[in-house]
Amino acid sequence: MESFELTVNGCVERVQAPTQWTLLQLLRDGLGLLGTKEGCGEGSCGACTVLVDGRLTRSCLSLALRAAGRSVLTVEGLGANGRRDPIQEAFVRHGAIQCGFCTPGMVIATRALLGVNPTPEDHEIREFLSGNFCRCGGYTQIVNAVRELAGRRPTAVNRGENA
């Protein structure tokens, strides 16, 4: 068992966690933050993506104890004063959400992308989000949402074109 402090979405948390817990387990089972999802559990799908000290992290592959003293951002930490973050607004506006399971990871990865590159081209958006799977296949809408955040117009319809 490990005892340590970390900051989650701006709040300092004092936690106790088994040594073998992943950061994902700490967030979901320890802190009740259920926004971050477990998809594959082996680092492929991106549903568990969070930021740790601003760095993109697969929380299913990170040991919880390694977050000691660090600052974690999950989807619950986005937005302020009861309002959604602009990334979330753009996802809603473009219907970039179907079942919603990949959305927290997509939104967090988008945040990281816009942090390193505020005006990504389409291929850069696709490349950056390549580690986040949308099993519904709604990639066109997701790219459209990010494109709007990058200050460019979304493509018109786009049926059947997903390359």
Partner: protein, 291 residues
């Protein structure tokens, strides 16, 4: 998926890590970024008693110029950092490119170069690049430090020449030969973030069409990352054209013993290797330039 219990030791120095490794022997595993080890543990392929963490060892992730040109990369440098480092892009653009082809941005930002090499996986992206660049690795154990060529580091299927108490601390990359052209071509059958079925790294030095030097590293095909020595020799001293490129493809296809798994059969790997070598050589010979 959950992890079984283990003991965790956070080391403040390489010496502490080697001492801890020696103390626990076979039951200990080093953990750096964890992107390879944690899934292996989740799938119960490994069950270490003790994880020996080196992630906080100061300076072990430094990216610096080498003493005689080239680069010295600390084992903890992540693929993300290497792929975006202006120094690496300038001194070793092949390596920067190959590191940028590893998995996805999130995995790249966690996974370390040292961890990638010590995992010993054939389908590694940096490994063929570093083999083509004839990199060396620095290794520290309880008996002291040694440097060995990467060609001697990979010893078999997920096997390396590291002794039980040894830690890979740095990768030394010699400077790229002046005027060298390079390419890393990665064949993935399904999606961008997949592992390479064939990952071919090439560095060629040409006088017009005359090949003065050829260096070829290969991942994903044989049981471990390998150098295509006979293919290199078949190219050096020759005029490169469509015929010699095709011949090099044949030499390469005969040179390796391909693996077989769910991603592809041995024959498929051999066929793709033949095509890849022909394309890369022809492409670099007809200008191609970089990448």
């Amino acid at each position: 998926m959950i992890l079984r219990p283990f003991k965790y030791v956070e080391c403040g120095s390489v010496d502490e890590a080697t001492t801890t490794l020696k103390q626990y022997g076979d039951g200990a595993r080093i953990i750096a970024g964890g992107t390879a080890l944690v899934p292996m543990m989740k799938h119960r392929l490994l069950r270490p008693e003790v994880l020996v963490s080196v992630i906080q060892v100061p300076g072990l992730g430094d990216i610096a110029a080498g003493p005689d040109g080239g680069l010295r990369l600390g084992a903890l440098a992540t693929h993300w950092e290497i792929s975006r480092s202006p120094l690496v892009k300038r001194e070793s653009p092949l390596l920067a490119y190959a590191c940028g082809r590893v998995a996805s941005p999130t995995v790249r930002s966690m996974a370390t170069l040292g961890g990638n090499l010590c995992y010993g996986e054939s389908a590694s992206d940096p490994s063929p690049a570093l083999l083509a660049l004839r990199a060396r690795v620095r290794v520290v154990g309880s008996g002291g430090e040694r440097t060995l060529p990467l060609t001697e580091f990979f010893t078999g299927f997920y096997e390396t020449g590291l002794a039980e108490d040894e830690v890979l601390t740095a990768v030394e990359v010699p400077p790229l030969a002046p005027g060298a052209r390079w390419r890393y071509l990665k064949w993935v059958p399904r999606a961008q973030e997949d592992k390479a079925l064939v990952g071919l790294a090439a560095v060629l030095v040409l006088d017009g069409r005359h090949c003065r030097m050829a260096r070829l590293g290969l991942g994903g095909v044989a049981a471990s990352p390998v150098v295509l020595r006979r293919t290199e020799q078949s190219l050096e001293g020759r005029e490169l054209d469509e015929r010699t490129s095709a011949e090099a493809g044949e030499v390469a296809a005969a040179e390796v013993e391909p693996m077989e798994d769910l991603q592809g059969s041995a024959d498929y790997r051999r066929d793709m290797l033949r095509v890849w070598v022909r394309r890369v050589v022809a492409d670099l010979a007809t200008g191609g330039g970089e990448r």
